[in-house]
Amino acid sequence: MATAATWHRSVDQRERDRYRRRRSARRGIVALASTVVVLGLLGWGVAQAPGWPSVQQAYFDPEQARLALPEVAGGFVFNIKLFLAAEAAILVVALVVALVRVVPAPALAPIRLLAVVYTDVFRGTPTILVIFLVGFGFPALGLQGVPTDLFWLGLIALTLSYGAYVAEVVRAGIMSVHPSQALSARALGLSYAQSMRRVVLPQGLRRVMPPLLNDFVSLQKDTALVAVIGVVEALRAAQVRSSADFNFTPYVVAAAFFIAVTVPFARFADWLALRQLRREQGLAVG
């Protein structure tokens, strides 16, 4: 019996391997050439536009970028803080709302109705409207204990709005787990709550990880919306800077900050999905 050490590739196999190597080299060259040509043409086309010099000056002025950087960066710290706090709050709200809608306990009936109304209303309302309503409406109530700090108002508004979306994503995840999974958990003697916590939820949440992270990328951008109630975050800082010199470069700087955070986030989401696939299915996915 031939072992790996004594085995020599046949003449045919060597010929096939040679052909495959040549083919993949050829494909690499084509991909590279096409990338250079397409990007080159795009760049050349933009630079040829009659208005390009003034656009370049208005949007990509290095001097303006340097001036705007510290202020935009300072504002962006607020975005990050708001994003992190809102993400945690949204996960809690979404999980509770999704569970209330799924769990059949009779005592939850009135709360279930509330949960349905909540998701319907807040998924149907534009986030910017919710921010306006919460930002100006809550303090106007004049109630004791209602926060008037803009950070907290922004946090409440984003949580209300995104909690409704994410609750539906989580609920979809729970519903996607085949009933036979819960059935066999119950057959093992696990209670309803235990089978939900140990068997259904872990599988459901894993399955909706990509859309969940997608919602969080979107949330990260929407932290800029709280600018409308007067918070000086990255967008607002860029706006202030921009109107000082009538130059739009600060906006581009702010955009760069958002992209710098969302892109790694998206790659992380991809990696997570791939790892899960590999581990559970034992697949060699490249």
Binding site: Q181, G189, L190
Partner: protein, 244 residues
């Protein structure tokens, strides 16, 4: 002392009496096989006995406890009964070892270490020790079903019920599962087995019950019933089965 006593069990589905008064008794250490055509209610009986389906009428005693009483804690009843499904139903997000230790730890309150040690001993006994850290989807069907059996046995049930555990398997994988069931019999596990494997029923069962028209149409010692059935329906069923 009987582990299980069933009297007049009824279950309706969509206007049809799937179970129309089933009577059945299982003594401690006894192995009983349920046979019958597809749709004869074999699986329904097992689900009703595990309180996964509400019963329409009749009484079921597990030991001395009437488990058809609605005031009975159904979780507590299920803790005493093991049920293995045709489609294994392992938990894909947990490793083999975690599948096996889930119920001992969360339901029976065992600590992590002893639960793992006990699970490893069981996995080892059934030739699955090297799969302990694998995930279910990377195992063959036969291996998955053996893990499902180990998972059910790990809770030390008074009664183990098997629902067509070989029906989803390729023929060459059936043997390894049946061998394991035979070993459990040697360990005097009380078992109620719904099956299509007549030769297996002959080897492993003390008693065979033939289900027809929602009742136990005929029952008796395995060889007697399978080799010399008295009822015409039973004869017809067995003949049809042999011809395949």
């Amino acid at each position: 002392m009987s582990v299980l006593r069933v009297k007049g069990l009824r279950k309706r589905y969509g206007g049809r009496d799937v179970l129309a008064g089933v009577d059945l008794t299982l003594d401690s250490g006894e192995v009983v096989c349920l046979i019958g055509a597809s749709g004869s209610g074999k699986s329904t009986i097992l689900r009703c006995l595990d309180l996964l389906e509400p019963v329409d009428d009749g009484t079921v005693w597990l030991g001395a406890l009437d488990i058809t009483d609605p005031r009975v804690d159904a979780d507590e009843v299920r803790r005493q009964i093991g049920l293995v499904f045709q489609a294994y139903n392992l938990f894909p997000h947990l490793s083999v070892l975690d599948n096996v230790t889930l119920a001992p730890r969360r339901v029976h309150g065992q600590r992590r270490r002893p639960a793992r040690a006990a699970a490893m001993a069981l996995l080892d006994r059934f030739g699955l020790a090297d799969k302990a850290m694998s995930y279910p989807d990377s195992l063959s069907g036969g291996q998955q079903q053996r893990v499902a059996l180990v998972r059910a046995v790990a809770t030390r049930p008074r009664l183990l019920m098997l629902d067509e555990v070989t029906s989803a398997l390729d023929p060459e994988l059936v043997t390894e599962v049946l061998t394991m069931v035979a070993e459990l019999r040697e360990a005097s596990m009380t078992m109620l087995i719904a099956t299509h494997e007549l030769s297996f029923a002959r080897d492993v069962a003390d008693r065979v019950c033939f289900l027809h028209d929602g009742v136990v149409h005929e029952q008796g010692p395995a060889r007697e019933l399978l080799d010399a059935p008295r009822q015409r329906r039973t004869q017809e069923f067995l003949r049809r089965f042999r011809d395949r």
